[in-house]
C-alpha cells in the first residue's frame, strides 16, 4: 500500500506520515517513508510517501492508494498519482477545487478536520492528528491499537490529541480491513539515526557538526542522547580541526556534513591522512553544484570524495544503500578508521539520510581496539612498517603529530629518504586496508545473477531491487568505493554481456570509477532532477537499456 500525506510546511504532514508509519509498524508491517520538502519554514509544499508492505523494501511507486491532503495544493499536485479506486481524504475546509482535475474512478472523501479539532478545543496544528485518525478508521485499523500508538508518539498535549483523534475516528466510516501480523514491530530508523547508532556501537564518544541539510539529523539525534559529547562550532573548518584534536586526545569522534561543508573540510581530511589521525566523516550528499537544491537528492559527490584532500593521500570510502547497511558500515568504518589511522568517509544522500526505514539489526558490531603503543619516554609516533602503534597524550609517551612530512618521532623533515619512506609507509598501510576490503562480504553484493547486469550504489537500492524483481538481469551493488574491491567486482562481472550503471547524478560517477578499474559500462541510467527513481520509472528505463 502506498500513501501520500501532503500539506504546507508547518501543517505537520511529516509528523502525520511518521504516525501512519508507526501505526502499520505496530501492526507488524514493514515501512518505508520518503520525505519530500522544500527549503522553507512555513508555506511551500511538503509530502511524505509511506510504503507499507509485508516485505522489506525502500522504494516508492508512481501510483498511490491513498492521498491525504491538508491543503489545496496537496490535492492538485498529487491527484494524478492516485490509482483507480484510490481514495482521496481531504480537509473539508479546502475550497475552490476544479472538478476537472480529478481522474475518473477516484474516491473523494472530505473530513471535517477543523470541527474535530474545535470540538476538542485543540489547536489548529492538531488537524494532522485528526487526519491520521480519520485515515486509520477508513483503512480499517482498530481504535484500541491506534490509541496505543498515538499515546506513545504524542508526548506533548497527549490528552488533547487523543480527544481530537477519538472524534475523527468516530466520525469516519470504515472501508477496508488491515490484518494484524504476528511480526514484531521493527526499528524505524532514518539513515542519519542508523549512522549515529552504528558509530556508537563502535565506540563513538564525540560528535561535531555545523548544521547543513541533509546531515543535520545526526547532530539533532545525538545531541538528545546523554553520554555523547556533541559540539556545534563556528564552521565546518572548525568542526574537522576540533575533531582531529579530540581524536588525537584519544576520543572516537565523528563529524557530519553535506557537499558544501565537506568542501570546506578537505584541508583537514588531508591532515587526517598525513598525521594519521582517525576520523569518521558522514557526507550526506544533496543536489549541487554549489548551494544547488538543498533539500533534494543526488549521488553527485562520489568523484569529489574519491579525491578529497590534497596530496597523495589515503582514505576509506563506503556507501551504504539502506539503513541496515548504514548502521553496519558506520560501525565498520569507525573501527577501520581507528585500525588504519586514516579518514573514513561514509557517503549517504538526502534520501537515505532522511527517509525512514524498517531496519533489522541481525548483525554484530562492537568496538575493535586500535593498535595501541607502549607508553615510554622514547615512544615514536610514526614507527613501523605500516600501522604505527598509537599512544595518546597524558601519559609517559610524548606524542607528537604533524601535518608536515615528518620523521618517526613526528618532527618535520625535508630529507629525501625520510619523505619517500613515510609516503611508502602510508601506502603499505593502504595496501593492507585494500586487502581487508577485498575480503569483506559487505564490500560488494551480488543480489541477482544475469547476463545483463545492473550495477548501482547507495540509496537507489530499493528502487533497483524492486524494479528488477521480475526482470531477467543480474544486480550488483558496490558498497566500498575506496579502496575499490576491484577483484570482487571483476569476478562478479566476468563475461557479462552488458553492464548498466544506475545512478542519481548527471555524469555517471560510478561508471567513471569502474572504467578506471578497467570495467567497461555499456549503458548509464541516470537521473538528476533531485528526485529518487520510482519503481515504475526505473523499470521503463531499464527495459529500454537492457
Amino acid at each position: 500500500m502506498q500513501i501520500i500525506v501532503a500539506g504546507a510546511a508547518g501543517q505537520g504532514s511529516k509528523k502525520a506520515g511518521l504516525l501512519i508509519g508507526k501505526l502499520f509498524n505496530h501492526y507488524g508491517y514493514k515501512i518505508f517513508i520518503h520525505e519530500d520538502y522544500e527549503s522553507v519554514i512555513k508555506g511551500g509544499h511538503n509530502f511524505s510517501q509511506i510504503s507499507v508492505s509485508k516485505e522489506e523494501g525502500s522504494a516508492i511507486s508512481e501510483r498511490v492508494d491513498y492521498l491525504l491532503a491538508l491543503n489545496k495544493e496537496a490535492i492538485e499536485k498529487h491527484i494524478p498519482k492516485l490509482k483507480k479506486g484510490g481514495v482521496l481524504l481531504y480537509d473539508d475546509q479546502i475550497e475552490g477545487l476544479e472538478e476537472s482535475i480529478f481522474p475518473k474512478g477516484v474516491d473523494k472523501e472530505s473530513a471535517p478536520l477543523k470541527s474535530f479539532v474545535e470540538k476538542a478545543e485543540g489547536i489548529d496544528l492538531m488537524k494532522n492528528t485528526a487526519l491520521v485518525a480519520a485515515f486509520a478508521k477508513m483503512a480499517g485499523l482498530e481504535w484500541e491499537e491506534v490509541k496505543k500508538v498515538l499515546e506513545r508518539e504524542l508526548p506533548v498535549k497527549t490528552e488533547k490529541n487523543l480527544e481530537v483523534a477519538g472524534l475523527a475516528f468516530e466520525g469516519m466510516e470504515k472501508r477496508g480491513e488491515v490484518e494484524k501480523l504476528s511480526e514484531e514491530p521493527s526499528y524505524l530508523l532514518s539513515g542519519n539515526q542508523a549512522v549515529a547508532l552504528g558509530a556508537l556501537q563502535a565506540g563513538l564518544e564525540n560528535y561535531y557538526a555545523y548544521p547543513m541539510t541533509p546531515s543535520t539529523g545526526v547532530l539533532r539525534f545525538l545531541s538528545g542522547i546523554d553520554g555523547v559529547r556533541t559540539f556545534q562550532p563556528e564552521s565546518e573548518i572548525a568542526v574537522i580541526n576540533s575533531a582531529l584534536g579530540s581524536a588525537y586526545a584519544g576520543k572516537r569522534t565523528m563529524i557530519g556534513t553535506s557537499g558544501g561543508g565537506f568542501a570546506l573540510m578537505t584541508e583537514g581530511i588531508s591532515f587526517s591522512a598525513q598525521a594519521e589521525i582517525p576520523l569518521l566523516i558522514t557526507l550526506s550528499q544533496r543536489m549541487g553544484p554549489a548551494t544547488g537544491v538543498p533539500t533534494y537528492t543526488a549521488q553527485a559527490d562520489l568523484s569529489f570524495a574519491l579525491s578529497s584532500g590534497h596530496g597523495d593521500m589515503v582514505r576509506l570510502i563506503a556507501a551504504p544503500g539502506d539503513t541496515k547497511e548504514a548502521y553496519l558500515l558506520s560501525g565498520k568504518c569507525m573501527n577501520m578508521a581507528w585500525k588504519y589511522q586514516l579518514p573514513a568517509i561514509l557517503l549517504l544522500d538526502k534520501e537515505l539520510a532522511e527517509n525512514t526505514y524498517s531496519t533489522k539489526r541481525d548483525f554484530h558490531i562492537e568496538k575493535e581496539e586500535a593498535v595501541i603503543g607502549e607508553e615510554s619516554e622514547d615512544y615514536l609516533r610514526y614507527e613501523g612498517e605500516d600501522i604505527s602503534p598509537v599512544c595518546f597524550p597524558g601519559g609517559e609517551a610524548t606524542v607528537k603529530v604533524s601535518g608536515y612530512e615528518h620523521d618517526k618521532k613526528g618532527i618535520a623533515t625535508e630529507n629525501a629518504e625520510e619523505i619517500k619512506e613515510m609516503h611508502e609507509k602510508r601506502l603499505r598501510k593502504y595496501e593492507k586496508l585494500k586487502n581487508e576490503v577485498e575480503s569483506l562480504s559487505e564490500a560488494v553484493k551480488v543480489h541477482k545473477e544475469g547476463e545483463t547486469t545492473v550495477v548501482f550504489w547507495g540509496s537507489s537500492k530499493g528502487a533497483v531491487l524492486e524494479a528488477t524483481k521480475e526482470m531477467d538481469v543480474g544486480v550488483l551493488q558496490i558498497l566500498f568505493m575506496q579502496p575499490l574491491p576491484e577483484e570482487r567486482i571483476k569476478e562478479a562481472l566476468k563475461g557479462k554481456e552488458k553492464i548498466i550503471c544506475v545512478e542519481t547524478n548527471a555524469t555517471g560517477q560510478l561508471a567513471n570509477l569502474l572504467s578506471c578499474a578497467g570495467v567497461k559500462v555499456s549503458e548509464k541510467v541516470l537521473k538528476y532532477d533531485g528526485r529518487p527513481f520510482t519503481v515504475e520509472e526505473l523499470k521503463r528505463r531499464l527495459e529500454v537499456s537492457k
Partner: protein, 270 residues
C-alpha cells in the same frame, strides 16, 4: 630546560624573537606536569616550536591551531592545552576560531607570536602590520589599518587578556603560567620582533612598560588597550594582564561522554 628542548636543528634566524618565547614556554612548562601539556601550533616561523620542544605536540594547519586545541581539550579535559599561533594564524586565516573560542570560553591558552609580518613566506603584511608597511606584496606600502588584538579580545569575551614581549622572557613566563592556570580562554599577545623583515627591537625596548596595576575593570582594560593602536610608532606600550574574569568554561557546561545503551534507544524507534 635540557629535557624539554629537543636536539632538533633550530632554523630560526639568529636573534629571532621566537627564541625568547621558546625560553619562556620551556620555563613555564618545566614547572608543570609535562605529560599533561599539549602544544598545538599553527603554521609559520613560530610553528617550529612544536619540533623544538620535547612535549606532546599537534603541529596543525595554518590558522587552525585554536580549533584543534579546543578539540584536544574537548577530547581530554585533564590536558593543559597551549596553542602557539602566529598573527597570520590568529588574526587572518583563523580569526573565526579566535573569536568563537573566546566567546565560548574554551579552556585553553593561546599565545600569539605577533611579529606583524608573514615571515616564512618572505615579508608580506598581516592584519597587525602598520599602515604604510612596505612588504613584498605591498611595495608602495599597505593601505590597510591594523587591528588592535587586545581590544578585539576584550570585546569578544576572552576571560583572560594579556600582552607580553619576547624581549622580556621572565615577564612572559609568568603570564604563560597565569594563563594556563586560569580556567577559561586565556589570550596572550606577544610582541615579537622579526629580525629579518621587521626588526622592532629598538622601538619596543624604548616603548614597552610593565603595568603597575593589572586585572583591570573591563572599562579600564579597554582604555589601556587603546594606548597603542598598532599603527602609531611613538606611543607607549603597556604589558601585563589587562583583564581576567571567572566564568564557567565550555567543557564544564556541555555534556561529557559516557556509556550509551544503544538497545534502549533502538526500542524507542519502534
Amino acid at each position: 630546560m635540557t629535557n624539554i628542548t629537543l636536539p632538533t636543528k633550530n632554523t630560526w634566524c639568529p636573534g629571532c624573537g621566537n627564541f625568547g618565547i621558546q625560553g619562556a614556554l620551556a620555563g613555564a612548562v618545566s614547572e608543570m606536569d609535562k605529560r599533561k601539556v599539549v602544544l598545538v601550533s599553527g603554521i609559520g616561523c613560530h610553528g617550529k616550536m612544536a619540533d623544538y620542544l620535547n612535549i606532546n605536540s599537534f603541529y596543525s594547519l595554518h590558522g587552525r591551531a585554536i580549533a584543534a586545541g579546543a578539540g584536544v581539550k574537548l577530547g581530554n579535559e585533564e590536558l593543559d592545552v597551549i596553542c602557539s599561533v602566529g598573527d597570520g594564524d590568529a588574526y587572518s586565516e583563523g580569526i573565526a576560531h579566535l573569536l568563537h573560542g573566546a566567546r565560548r570560553n574554551s579552556n585553553i591558552t593561546v599565545i600569539v607570536h605577533d611579529n606583524h609580518v608573514f615571515s616564512l613566506t618572505v615579508k608580506q603584511r598581516t592584519a597587525t602590520s602598520p599602515k604604510g608597511f612596505a612588504g613584498s606584496t605591498t611595495p608602495k606600502g599597505s593601505v590597510e589599518d591594523p587591528i588592535n588584538p587586545l581590544e578585539l579580545m576584550l570585546n569578544a569575551g576572552a576571560s583572560f587578556v594579556a600582552r607580553s614581549y619576547s624581549g622580556n622572557p621572565k615577564h612572559l613566563t609568568r603570564l604563560i603560567k597565569e594563563g594556563v592556570s586560569h580556567q577559561g580562554f586565556s589570550f596572550i599577545e606577544v610582541l615579537q620582533p622579526c629580525i629579518a623583515w621587521y626588526n622592532t627591537y629598538e622601538s619596543y625596548n624604548e616603548r614597552v612598560y610593565e603595568m603597575e596595576n593589572e586585572f583591570l575593570s573591563m572599562e579600564e582594560a579597554l582604555k589601556k588597550a587603546k594606548e597603542w593602536d598598532y599603527n602609531n610608532d611613538q606611543a607607549q606600550i603597556p604589558l601585563g594582564i589587562f583583564y581576567k574574569e571567572e566564568r564557567e568554561t565550555l567543557e564544564k557546561q556541555i555534556g561529557g561522554s559516557s556509556f550509551v545503551d544503544v538497545g534502549s534507544i533502538l526500542e524507542k524507534t519502534k
